[in-house]
């Protein structure tokens, strides 16, 4: 049998394994031995039906062959091993039974009479024009093709439906002329609406089309990078990554500086700094003094101890204005004129321990620096505005 298969394969250009599969299916359907069938194809008598049926290779596809419902998927199987129809183009005569079966399926699908289809396939009649014409069976032998054009068109229709491509494109690929103005319905459904026309016609706005990909399949030319892309999308693929790189390079990666009220803490060092990147010298001075003088009672992180907590913003709640806090640190509890201090009116000796006054130990600038450190570090205030508010820096008088 392999010999016969190879012979047919050579003649028709269809791979032998496909032929074998189709033959097995056909044999099962007809109830004949597969070897006999293949022999017949290769040039012998039509075999008599025997009860012996070769096991189908592809039960999925072959089994429904006799069922009328599954006409479309059967198509490709029908096409492959049908070398030449009765076209006198130098091919092999197809057995009558096969031809008839094929004609019946096609007639049912297209809603035509079997005789009409048979006539077309065997002689070259005028193409009928049913409402859902799947293909125009032009009877010319199409310039020396091995397969008659009718079958090629049918194959093209099935292929287009299977792959979801417009029929015209597939026809062009196979070297046939696309049918005229008709929008071919690749589906054989009776509800066949006009097939997608927009795909091949509405191309001016650069909509994504499978055409470009199909061109790549058919030809050796390299595909352009943005094949099938709308222009705006292709442009975005250049603009947006560029923008992303610019962002990484130049956008401020640190905290948001600008108008007052915004914090400027260096995310890497954790230290407050002005937006120009320079550290605040007063902040550092104040930090040193705080660690030396104040952390004993207020803790290094400002969480308090003997003295009240400064952290969590409470220092800003107690002293909304920097000068008030400076005055408190300068004078201390014992020199404080009132019984309460601060915006929240805290009692002066509320914790039982007196707050020392540093007016005698530290200069005004030093006290202001400590207060600045406390307000920025523990209160989260903006060092730029606080510097000015505390009377430090170039803006202040000193």
């Amino acid at each position: 049998m392999d010999e016969h298969l190879n012979q047919i394969a050579d003649q028709t250009g269809v791979p032998a394994d496909l032929l074998e599969r189709a033959a097995r299916a056909r044999a099962t359907a007809q109830g004949v031995a597969v070897e006999a069938l293949v022999a017949d194809w290769a040039g012998g008598e039509a075999p008599a039906p025997t009860p012996v049926a070769a096991p189908p290779v592809e039960p999925v596809v072959e089994a429904p062959a006799p069922a009328p419902v599954a006409a479309p998927p059967v198509e490709p199987v029908v096409e492959a091993p049908a070398p030449a129809a009765s076209e006198p183009a130098g091919g092999k005569q197809l057995p009558e039974a096969l031809l008839r079966r094929s004609a019946e399926a096609r007639a049912k699908r297209e809603g035509r009479s079997v005789e009409e289809v048979m006539a077309e396939m065997t002689g070259g009649g005028e193409p009928a024009a049913p409402a859902a014409a799947a293909s125009a069976p032009a009877a010319e032998s199409g310039g020396g093709k091995q397969l008659p054009e009718a079958l090629l068109r049918r194959s093209a229709a099935a292929k287009a439906k299977r792959e979801g491509r417009p029929l015209d494109e597939v026809l062009v690929e196979m070297g046939l002329s696309p049918d005229g103005a008709t929008s071919e319905a690749p589906a054989a459904k009776p509800a066949g609406a006009p097939a997608p026309v927009a795909d091949t016609t509405a191309s001016d706005s650069g909509e994504p089309q499978p055409d470009a990909a199909a061109v790549a399949d058919a030809g050796p030319e390299p595909e352009p990078i943005f094949a099938g892309f709308p222009r705006w999308l292709a442009a975005s693929f250049i603009i947006i990554p560029l923008f992303a790189l610019l962002y990484a390079g130049f956008a401020p990666n640190g905290p948001d500086c600008g108008t007052s009220g915004k914090l400027a803490i260096n995310p890497i060092s954790g230290e407050a700094e002005s937006c120009g990147g320079a550290g605040s010298v007063y902040f550092s001075i104040g930090q040193g003094i705080f660690n030396g003088q104040c952390s004993a009672c207020h803790s290094a992180d400002g969480s308090g101890g003997v003295g009240p907590a400064l952290a969590g913003g409470s220092v800003l709640q107690t002293f909304s204005a920097c000068p008030d806090q400076i005055q408190w640190v300068t004078l201390g509890s014992n020199n404080w004129p009132d019984a309460t201090y601060g915006d929240t009116n805290k009692p002066v000796l509320g914790t039982g321990v007196a707050m020392p006054g540093y007016g005698g130990n530290l200069s005004a600038e030093q006290i202001a620096s400590v207060v600045l450190y406390e307000r920025v570090s523990f209160g989260g205030a903006d060092p730029i505005t606080e510097e000015a508010a505390c009377g430090l820096g170039a803006a202040a008088g000193g």
Partner: protein, 664 residues
């Protein structure tokens, strides 16, 4: 395409499409049940946000447990199981091959459904692990992992058959998403191994400090992008041709670019929700860059599918019209997702929308908007009971209610978040009152209440829509005679499968495309893992504790504060409270900016998702007593929507108080 045809036609019964019938059916039903559970719980949670005393008696229905459990059921039970069911439906039809090992597939389903169910119950019971989308207890995670492995085996092996033909984009997306799902689950739940490791070692190895947040961000971006979006796109590429009566979608350059872009870009946006927090600055920048880049593959996929469908509108079978509409809705919301994500990531806008309801709005539109719409398209396409005479009426109601509910809820969350963000940023120019009073003035505001009402209304309408769907499906189930063949097998489209087309033959000696996809998918995942998990671990700032960490944020085993922190985790406090002071105007007055080292002694770090309540980083340092607030929040803050924790035992309350009082 009714059950009768599939019953009569023997070919259909033996087709590859029939081989996955039962497992696809199981997934469909399980996902619908989880959908009902999830949206019901989410609707109740949204009511609780407006009327905080709703169902607040026991811990099981407390907002902090109910909401994450609802999202768990929706993200995993509904979306994940639903997408997998759609894959089981799609893969035999795409490949023309019977499903590999359907029994293993069914076992996989059992493990996954059971694992997700007990995971959600675990969250309600108070066993949350404290990481968003990874709250399920380790036992549940292990069970799910076994199920996922079985599922991945079935699906990947089926797709890998028959290398002699070109593949539809749907197949790439499906293979990659399944591989990524398993990888994500494994990496995100590494503490499963830690549980096993405790058997061997006394101290299980875990990530510490800010790196737990980085890992969580990587996982969260991955589960949305590498799983939800990728698997969803696969189903879209499968459905689109079928809705217009075609069998396949021929690969286009657009689909190739969309596929790779999706896989590479989305997972690298993991730090998008972490703008200005204590994570490394370079990581934030990468998150922004890739959030921008993500716009491209999403647009590409939308353009590709829309272009395919646009010219074929007239080919749509009337019974598929609803599915097509749902597909379009999903695509539209999908196109908006990267824009919403970018708003969170960009520093300029992230400072405004960060820690607001915007974050939850993005989550809603991703899970219940885009991906669910695609899943609805699948559900209405495959289930014959939906296409009977009543179907049109059900579809109309379901469609309108779903869209209306999503629109209301999404609007409330996104716009509400924007308004809140701008209000907080406005603040007092001296920044002094931004902390407590500034926040409270917005919490008390009528517009805040208004947005909550709109959100609640939207989620309830959405829940009603899904109840309609579920009840219709359930009723139809009882009426259908042939229940085993409930999922449609289309004799035209399904029986033939993909023919071997000689013209599309590829070299059989070349590496199979599914393997190529798998390897590159793995490489992309590893790359993201290295970038997001390994490299930040080497950042010494995250490992070196600051003074604050050593003095305040340290939790020795067995101490009251440690027990209290565990209670904080399992009650889901992080969904409404943050512990992260950012260097922006909004946070001025909240105290010192949070640094990586502050969290060095904590695992997992409760950075917080959004601020429905104020930031707690330096709460105790601002003074005040919180005993009353925990037991009845409205005693000292009448505007509060915080649930009452009266149901905690006195010992638990004391421990929680000890933890809160330590937040200096």
């Amino acid at each position: 395409m009714t059950a009768d045809v599939s019953h009569d036609n023997q070919a259909v019964a033996e087709s590859p499409a029939a081989s996955s019938q039962s497992v696809a059916r199981y997934h469909l039903w399980a996902s619908l049940i989880f959908l009902m559970l999830g949206v019901g719980m989410l609707a109740v949670a949204s009511i609780q946000y407006v009327v905080p005393t709703t169902l607040s008696g026991s811990g099981w229905l407390s907002y902090g447990r109910l909401r994450p459990a609802a999202i768990h059921f929706l993200l995993y039970g509904w979306l994940t199981l639903g997408l997998i069911g759609a894959m089981y439906y799609a893969v035999p039809r795409l490949t023309g091959e019977r499903l590999t090992d359907p029994i293993i597939a069914r076992i996989g389903f059992g493990f996954m459904a059971f694992g997700y169910a007990i995971g959600g119950i675990g969250i309600l019971a108070g066993s949350s692990e404290g990481i968003r989308y990874l709250e399920a207890p380790p036992l549940a995670d292990m069970i799910v992992l076994i199920g996922m492995a079985a599922m991945a085996h079935s699906i990947v092996r089926t797709i890998s058959k028959r290398n002699d033909r070109e593949r539809s984009p749907a197949e790439w997306f499906i293979v990659a998403s399944v591989i990524w799902l398993v990888g994500l689950h494994f990496i995100g739940n590494l503490n499963m191994l830690a549980v096993l490791a405790t058997i061997v070692y006394s101290q299980p190895p875990t990530l510490h400090g800010i790196n737990t947040v980085v890992l969580a961000g990587f996982y969260q971006a991955g589960i949305i992008g590498l799983w939800g979006a990728t698997a969803g796109a696969g189903i879209v590429y499968f459905l689109a041709p079928r809705l217009v009566g075609l069998t396949s979608f021929k690969p286009t350059r657009l689909s190739v670019v969309g596929f790779w872009g999706l896989g590479i870009a989305w997972v690298l946006t993991g730090s998008a929700q972490l703008t200005y927090t204590a994570v490394p600055d370079w990581l934030e920048t990468i998150g922004v860059m890739f959030s921008m880049v993500l716009l491209l593959p999403v647009a590409t996929i939308v353009v590709d599918v829309m272009g395919f469908l646009r010219g074929r509108q007239d080919d749509v079978d009337p019974k598929n019209r609803y599915s097509l509409k749902m597909l379009y809705i999903g695509l539209a919301v999908f196109a908006a997702l990267p824009v919403l994500n970018l708003a969170s990531a960009l520093r300029a806008t992230g400072g405004i929308v960060g820690f607001t309801d915007w974050v939850y709005g993005y989550e809603l539109l991703a899970i219940l908007g885009a991906f669910s719409a695609w899943l609805f398209a699948y559900v209405f396409h495959v289930a014959p009971p939906m296409v009977s005479a009543d179907a049109v009426r059900v579809q109309r109601w379901h469609g309108w209610l779903t869209v209306l509910g999503l629109a209301l809820a999404g609007f409330a969350m996104l716009v509400g978040g924007l308004v809140a963000g701008f209000t907080w940023a406005g603040g007092d120019s001296a920044g002094v009152v931004a902390a407590a009073e500034g926040f409270e003035s917005t919490a008390d505001a009528m517009w805040n209440f208004g947005f909550a009402i709109v959100r609640m209304t939207g989620l309830m309408i959405f829940a009603i829509a899904q109840a309609l769907l579920f009840s219709y499906a359930a009723t139809a189930w009882f009426v259908t005679e042939d229940r085993k063949n409930v999922l449609a097998v289309d004799p035209d489209l399904d029986v033939g499968g993909q023919e071997v087309n000689p013209e599309l033959a590829v070299d059989p000696d070349a590496m199979p495309s599914w393997l190529r996809v798998g390897i590159i998918a793995l490489a992309a995942g590893i790359g993201a893992f290295v970038l997001f998990v390994v490299l930040p671990s080497f950042d010494s700032a995250s490992a070196t504790p600051t003074i604050l960490a050593d003095q305040s944020r340290i939790y020795p085993d067995g101490s009251d504060a440690a027990i209290g922190r565990d209670i904080y985790i399992r009650e889901g406090c992080m969904y409404c409270h943050t512990q992260s002071v950012r260097p922006i105007v909004t946070d001025v007055g909240l105290g010192p900016v949070s640094e990586a080292g502050d969290y060095a002694h904590e695992s997992p770090v409760q950075l917080g998702v959004a601020r429905m309540g104020p930031d707690l980083t330096h709460l105790a340092a601002r003074g005040g007593s919180f005993v009353d607030h925990l037991q009845n929040p409205r005693v000292d803050r009448p505007w509060s929507t915080m649930p009452s924790y009266d149901y905690l035992s006195q010992a638990d309350l004391d421990a929680l108080l000890a933890y809160v009082n330590g937040l200096k």
